[in-house]
Every structure is written in structure tokens, then in C-alpha cells.
């Protein structure tokens, strides 16, 4: 009988061993995916037991997101409050008591709850946990300049649009404002979310939750001439002094493409003999139309790619809150297989066609020119700091590669300076500082209603700050008239002028 008994014992032990294997599976292999499940109430609760880290502006003092301590059934939970009442609301996002999260609150959740950390912090946390003490998440210090951010929000007012500013040398984002906006504290209040959903800007569009700086797509208008000019100069096809004859229109496919349709162009409708630089300064469409025809759509699009078009700009916010820029067809990003036949090069050259861009992307174009042709990699988290004050991680500035030669960047810099000195962007002049800029006024399909752009940087000889401003649905509102003043004030604020 002992043979059978031995076998039975083996069966029993195998059964029990299987339990250890299964436990190992759930606790290591599958643990991550289970923790990420929407209905995982344990993860939800355990996150509220952690004192969530602060989100701070660059000065380290302005608190953008903090804890709200709630005692319930003898347990302490930490919910969220936003002491700055929605400063950079769409970028920071929110984290509700139902653990609905967006923005940096979502993408930095692991830091804020202390799930990602260095060794000494992890040990400290474990000791706290065993001792029954409070577990603290890490604090996050952003690159956001609180003063400039508040100013941008104030200048936008109830107009729909966005203001983005960065350090063109490093890519550190100083300002990321989107309008209409909301008070993040509302989200978790009864009926508050519905109220936010109904918040309308002057454009009549109720989408306060949308981060227009990274998710808003607009026709770039003449700001795209920065890309076309880059392609024209960098490819060697043109120089700033290349001559053009502007009859007030350009001939494409046997038809006239008239300057008169360009609201951005200041001065006379017909300039006659001009240089490329002058065409840029006065934003003359016929000049760029001819440039486009000569170098072709493919070259322009290839240069656009080098500036970051056709890929989602990197940033610490959730990837689904950012969009790539480029040609869009049927609401989808579209790169033509044969640009020569599928894309109208003349219209592409001055920013019409089916171009859709985000304010962040246009800022990257401006910042690249300011940065001598190298695309700075944008970032918004300066450093993560443990509860004990130690630095958990610090962002190092990096680049996305070179888009254009330093000489090309210098030429464009000069051309952009002339735009502000005596061209379409004079409203952005700052006394004592040379400002470089480019206006854009894109048609919206509604007569005399425009998308108004201004992309600029300053000081031109030693760029410290780059700004992109976009305003939606501006009646008779040209980029140089409505957006340039906003850019000017933001640059002044950031340069302490």
C-alpha cells in the first residue's frame, strides 16, 4: 500500500506547490496589469492613503496642487486641492476622489504617490509603512513661471487660444496657458464637472478641459513661412537677397493666387521688385508661392519634419493630450506619398493647404531658429524632490537634433528681427531689446474671422525666451495686431522688463 501512499503524497504536494506558483504569478507577473485595472478599488484606496506630493511652479513657492486631508472611519485619506485655482489647469490636470486623472496628475502619478523613487526614499517609505506612519509622495517642481503663466491666462481672458513660452536654449516650458480654462477644484465638487464641461470661451466652443497648447490644431498661416524660408535658405536654393517680382499674385496651375487674400500682408497689395527677406518681413504670399513652386512640396515637408512635424512633441504630459502637426486629411495626420502631385506647393509655402499645427510645434520652430538651428526638446518638469528634500530626479536639457544650419538660423533670425522692426510684427517691440518674430493670420472659412498667430523670441542676439501665441476666431484680428501684444508682455514679464 505504501507505493500508493507515496504517490498520493506526491499528488498532494504538487497541488500545494501549484498554489505557490499561482501566487507568484499573481503577485509578480500579473501584479502590474491588475494594479492598472479601472475597477481596482484597492489601488484606488491605497493611493489616497499616500500623502500625494505637491506640484510646484519653478519658484518652488507657488503651489499648483496640494493635499486635502480627510478623516473617515478613523482612517486618513488625502484628496487633492488646487490652491492656485486652476493655474495651468489643463497642463496640471486633476486627480479626483474617484481617481479620475488627467494631465501631469496622471502622467506623474508614480512620482506623486512615491511609487517611483530612489533607494533611500524607498527604504524610508517602507519603514514608515511598517511603523504605520504616513507615506509621502514626491514633490514635483515644474519649469512653469507662475507670474508669466498667470499673466498669459489674464491676457487671453475669455478669448479661445493658447500661449506657450519656453527657454529656446534648454526647452524648459515657462508658460503653457489654454483658454477657456477652469478652476481645477470644481472637478471633484458635486455638479462641478458638468459646469466645467459647459464653460465656454468667446469663440463659443465649450472645451475648457482641452489643452490647446498641445492638443489644439490650427492652420499656421504665415507663421509657416519660417519653415518655408528655412527650407529655401538651408537647401541653398535661395539667399535672403534673392530677387522676386511681386505683381500682387502668383500663378499656380494657370490660375492667379492673389496677395489680396492675405490679411497678414501689410503695406501695398503689390510690392513689385522685392528680396526674399522683404517678402518675409511683409509676409508677401506671392513671394512664398513662387518659392514653394520652385523648391517643391517635398522639400518643405522634409524640413517641417526636421522641426518636429509629423511626430508628437515630447513632453511629460500624457501622450493622448498631445497631437502631432502636419498635413491632415479627413481628420488624420497625412503624409503624401507623392508630394509633387498631391500637395499644392504654393499654398503650402505660405501656410494654407491642409496644414494643422499645435502652438507647441510652432513654438518649437521659433525656438529652433533662436537656438541656432537645433531643436530644443521641450520639458515641463524641472525636478522631483523627495519628502526629505533630496532630489529624486532632475531633468537635463536635451535636443531633438539639428533642423537647419547655424548660418540659416542666423539669416532667419535677422529676417524675423526686421518683421518686428519694420514689418508685420511691430506691436511686439520692446524698448531696449531686439525682438524677433513672425505673424500669422490664417483664414478660418468665415469671412474676416481669422486665427491670429505670433511666434517670437528675444533678445534676438542672445535668445532667452521664445513665445507662441494663438487666438481663435478673431474678427478682423490679425496676428500682428492681437497676438503680438500678448507675446510682447509675456516676453517682458519673463525678461523682467
Amino acid at each position: 500500500m505504501n507505493t500508493q501512499l507515496n504517490r498520493l503524497a506526491l499528488v498532494a504536494l504538487i497541488m500545494l506547490a501549484a498554489l505557490i506558483v499561482a501566487t507568484t504569478y499573481w503577485q509578480s507577473w500579473a501584479a502590474g496589469s491588475l494594479a492598472a485595472k479601472q475597477d481596482n478599488a484597492i489601488e484606488l484606496v491605497s493611493q489616497f492613503e499616500v500623502s500625494r506630493g505637491l506640484i510646484l511652479a519653478a519658484n518652488g513657492n507657488t503651489v499648483l496642487a496640494a493635499d486635502r486631508k480627510v478623516k473617515r472611519n478613523g482612517q486618513t485619506f488625502y484628496f487633492r486641492r488646487y490652491p492656485s485655482h486652476g493655474l495651468a489647469a489643463q497642463t496640471i490636470g486633476y486627480s479626483t476622489s474617484a481617481l479620475s486623472q488627467t494631465g501631469l496628475e496622471l502622467s506623474l502619478n508614480d512620482y506623486l504617490t512615491g511609487a517611483t523613487s530612489n533607494l533611500s526614499n524607498a527604504i524610508q517609505r517602507t519603514l514608515n509603512q511598517i511603523g504605520g506612519g504616513t507615506v509621502y509622495g514626491d514633490n514635483v517642481v515644474l519649469t512653469i513661471n507662475a507670474g508669466a503663466q498667470a499673466l498669459a491666462q489674464q491676457l487671453l481672458g475669455d478669448r479661445c487660444g493658447a500661449v506657450v513660452a519656453m527657454n529656446p536654449r534648454t526647452g524648459a516650458i515657462y508658460v503653457m496657458a489654454s483658454s477657456p480654462t477652469y478652476d481645477s477644484n470644481l472637478i471633484d465638487k458635486p455638479g462641478g464637472y458638468a459646469k466645467v464641461l459647459k464653460t465656454k470661451g468667446a469663440c463659443g466652443d465649450a472645451s475648457a478641459l482641452l489643452n490647446r497648447a498641445t492638443y489644439g490644431l490650427y492652420a499656421p498661416g504665415s507663421t509657416f513661412k519660417m519653415v518655408t524660408a528655412s527650407a529655401a535658405l538651408d537647401s541653398g536654393a535661395f539667399t535672403p537677397t534673392s530677387g522676386f517680382n511681386d505683381p500682387g499674385y502668383c500663378v499656380e496651375y494657370g490660375k492667379h493666387v492673389s496677395n489680396a487674400g492675405n490679411p497678414d500682408q501689410n503695406g501695398p497689395e503689390t510690392y513689385g521688385h522685392v528680396t526674399l527677406a522683404q517678402g518675409f518681413q511683409h509676409s508677401i504670399n506671392s513671394v512664398f508661392c513662387n518659392v514653394g513652386k520652385q523648391i517643391g512640396a517635398k522639400v518643405i515637408l522634409d524640413y517641417a519634419k526636421r522641426f518636429g512635424f509629423y511626430s508628437t512633441p515630447p513632453l511629460e504630459t500624457p501622450a493622448n493630450q498631445r497631437l502631432p502637426s502636419g498635413l491632415y486629411k479627413n481628420d488624420k495626420l497625412w503624409f503624401p506619398k507623392d508630394p509633387a502631385t498631391e500637395v499644392d506647393p504654393g499654398r503650402l509655402a505660405f501656410g494654407q493647404e491642409r496644414l494643422q499645427v499645435t502652438p507647441l510645434q510652432m513654438l518649437m520652430v521659433g525656438a529652433t531658429i533662436a537656438n541656432g538651428g537645433v531643436v530644443p526638446r521641450p520639458y515641463i518638469v524641472d525636478r522631483v524632490i523627495g519628502h526629505d528634500g533630496s532630489v529624486v530626479s532632475r531633468t537635463r536639457a536635451s535636443t531633438l537634433g539639428r533642423a537647419i544650419k547655424p548660418e540659416t538660423a542666423a539669416e532667419l533670425n535677422q529676417m524675423m528681427v526686421s518683421v518686428v522692426q519694420a514689418g508685420t510684427g511691430t506691436a511686439a517691440q520692446i524698448p531696449g531689446i531686439q525682438v524677433a518674430g513672425k505673424t500669422g493670420t490664417a483664414e478660418t472659412g468665415v469671412n474676416k474671422v481669422y486665427t491670429a498667430w505670433f511666434v517670437s523670441f528675444a533678445p534676438a542676439n542672445n535668445p532667452q525666451v521664445a513665445v507662441a501665441v494663438v487666438l481663435e476666431k478673431q474678427l478682423n484680428g490679425f496676428g500682428g495686431a492681437v497676438s503680438a501684444p500678448i507675446a510682447k508682455q509675456i516676453m517682458q514679464k519673463l525678461l523682467h522688463r
Binding site: M1, N2, T3, Q4, L5, N6, R7, L8, A9, V11, A12, L13, M15, L16, A17, A18, L19, I20, A22, T23, T24, Y25, W26, Q27, S28, A30, A31, L34, A35, K37, D39, N40, A41, I42, E43, L44, V45, S46, F48, E49, R72, N73, Q75, F77, S97, T126, Q129, I130, G132
Partner: protein, 416 residues
Amino acid sequence: MLTAIGFASVYISRRSHISTASLTYALLFFVLYLAAHVVARFTVPNADPYLLPLAGLLTAIGLTEIYRLGPSNAFKQGLWVVIGVAVFALVIVVLRRDYRLLENYKYIFGLSAIGLLFMPLLPGIGQTVNGSRLWIHAGGLQFQPGELGKLALIVFLAAYLREKREVLAQGRVKDWGPLLVIWGSAMLVLFATGDLGSALLYYGIFLAILYAATARLKFVAAFIGLFLVGSAAVYEGTPHVRERVTNWLHPWTTQKVYCALNGHYTLRQDCASYQMVQSLYSIAHGGYGGTGLGSGVFQNAQGAPLIPFLSTDFIYSAVAQELGLVGAAALILIYMVFVLRGFRVSLAANDGFSKLLAAGLTFGFALQTFVIVGGILRVIPLTGITLPFVSYGGSSVISNFIVVAGLMLVSDRANA
């Protein structure tokens, strides 16, 4: 004795970890364990020295976790442990001369096993909990008679198969009668109570003892076939069992399915498989090291419990969260050691009845652990039975102490 003190000190240190006030609990438990040990020392001096400490350790882990989940339950469980130890002492003292007397009363055990199994079905005292009719209650006391029925069944099978093993092995048809009655009863119980777990347990024990006695794998295969046929019929006929299997195969749905609990359409993880899914979350949350005793999350932010039946059927997911993979694996290892000792007792026994009895008790113990923990871990469909010694529940504690008493009696005789 040294081992015992060692285990007890482990228990005390764990206990003081949560709160120093509960040291009295630890002290009481230690005294209790000491009492059991002394009784065993004097009545069955040659018994296996590991079984009682292992049982004590498991009980201690259970009490600690139950205390952590609800101190009032721990008090009641403490009382049940006192009763369990008393029954343990009683069984040992009464049967210390020769437990093999039981063999003579095998049919009484067989009949009482069936009686106990069917008891919850009686109107008036039967009670349905969580879709299964397993309980009787009388005068405010709840009891699961199936726990004792299981033991009676093991005694009957050990005695009957010891006597008939040769003739059965040769395949004499008439001797199969009582066995077929048992098979039919198990299926009936399964059908009537909707309790897949217990049916699996009884049947598994039956097959194990049958195999040990006859060494005929084809019998086992035949009975497994019969079981599958029966199960298929039950699956078709009982929505409760069908639901368990569906929950096991597809606990998560991405589309809303009909929820029988509230009549609405919801995701299955919010309805039928809620308990299992939340329990898996609990286990996963523990990770390698666990959250630490007392730091696990078992309530939502509003203070409502997340996992129903946490301290009874689902205590493993509480232990796995708080002690992590390290603690959970250690717990299973304790069961493995216990099972190994049990089979050692069986191997060392001199007569057929003793061997089969010890093997049956041990295999039943292992199978019960497998059925509940395997159910929680989605190895097999989830069925609600208790985790031996650890789960909160009086009937379970008492019957498990009887198992220990039985194994110690057998080993005392074998080593004498």
C-alpha cells in the same frame, strides 16, 4: 517542546507588532497550546512531534489575521479554538487505548456522514449563505455539519476499504454497492446544496482512499469519468455552478452582461465575479513583501469592506496582501510540511485501517487547502470552503483539530 516555544514566540512577536494590548491574546493562546501539548505528551507520548506545533502555528497565523480584520471575530474564533483544543484533548483521551475500535462502527459512520451532509437541506434549521446551503443554525449557533461529515466519511471509507480491498481489487460487483451510494450521495449533495467545493473535496478524498486501498488506477479513472458526467449534468441543471465556472473562465468582461444580483446589465467584474476579482487585486497589491500586517487595504475610501467573506473563505487573499509572496509562500510551505508529516504517519502505520485513515485525513487536508486557495488564485473554479486552521469559522477549527488528534493517535500507535 522547543519547537513549540519557538513557534509561540513567533506568534507573540507578530502579535505585539499590531498592538501591545493584544499580548494577552498571545499569552492565552500560548497557555492553550501548552495545555494541548501537555495532554498529548501524557496520553500519546510517541506521537509525531511536528503536527501539533504546525497546527498551532497555522491557528496563530489565522487568529492574527482575523484579529487584524475584525477584533470581535478574533474573540469568537479564540473561543472556537478553546473548544477545538478541548475536543482535541477529548478525542485523544477517549481513543488513546485503541482508536481502531472505530472500525467496528463503520456503517454508523457512513450513515452519519450522509446524514450530516444532508442536514443543511432540512427545512427549519438549514440556511443558505452565498448561494450554497451549507449551514444549520439552532439557538443562535451556526454550524457547518459537512465539516464533521467529511471526517465521518473518511473513517467509514478507511474501514470499509480496508476490509474489502482485495475483493474490490478483483472487481466483485456487489461490494461496490456502498461505494456507489456514497458517490450518488456526493453528487446529490452537490446538486442540492450547489456546493461544488465540498463535493469536490468529498469525492477527492474518496478517490484517494480508493486508490490507496486497491492500487487500481482504472477504478479512479472510472470514478473520475462518472464524476465528470455528473458534473456536466449539474453544470447544465444548476445556474449557480454554471455561474462559478463562467466567473472562473472570464472574470473580466469589456461589455456589460446580465447581472443576476441586481437585474441590471453591468460588467461581470462589478457583479458576479466581483469578489474573485477584488480578491485577486488584493493578492496582487501585496507584491513580494506585502503591505505589512495591519497596513493592507480591505475597505474602500468610504469604509465599506471590499471583499465579502474575507475572514472566512478569502482569508488567503488578506494574508497574501499583508505578508506578500514571502508570507503566502511560507504559509503554503507550512501546509506542505503538515501534509508531509501526515503521509509519514500513514506510511509508518502498521495496519491497513490506520494507513488509510491517516492518508484520508491528510489528503483531505491538502485537497481542502488546494480547493479554496486554488479557487482564489483562479487555478480552479472558486468554491467557498474554509482554509484549514486559518479561516474564521468554528466548525472548521473543530474538525481540523480532530484531524490532528487522529493523525497523532495513529502515529503514537505506529511509533509505540
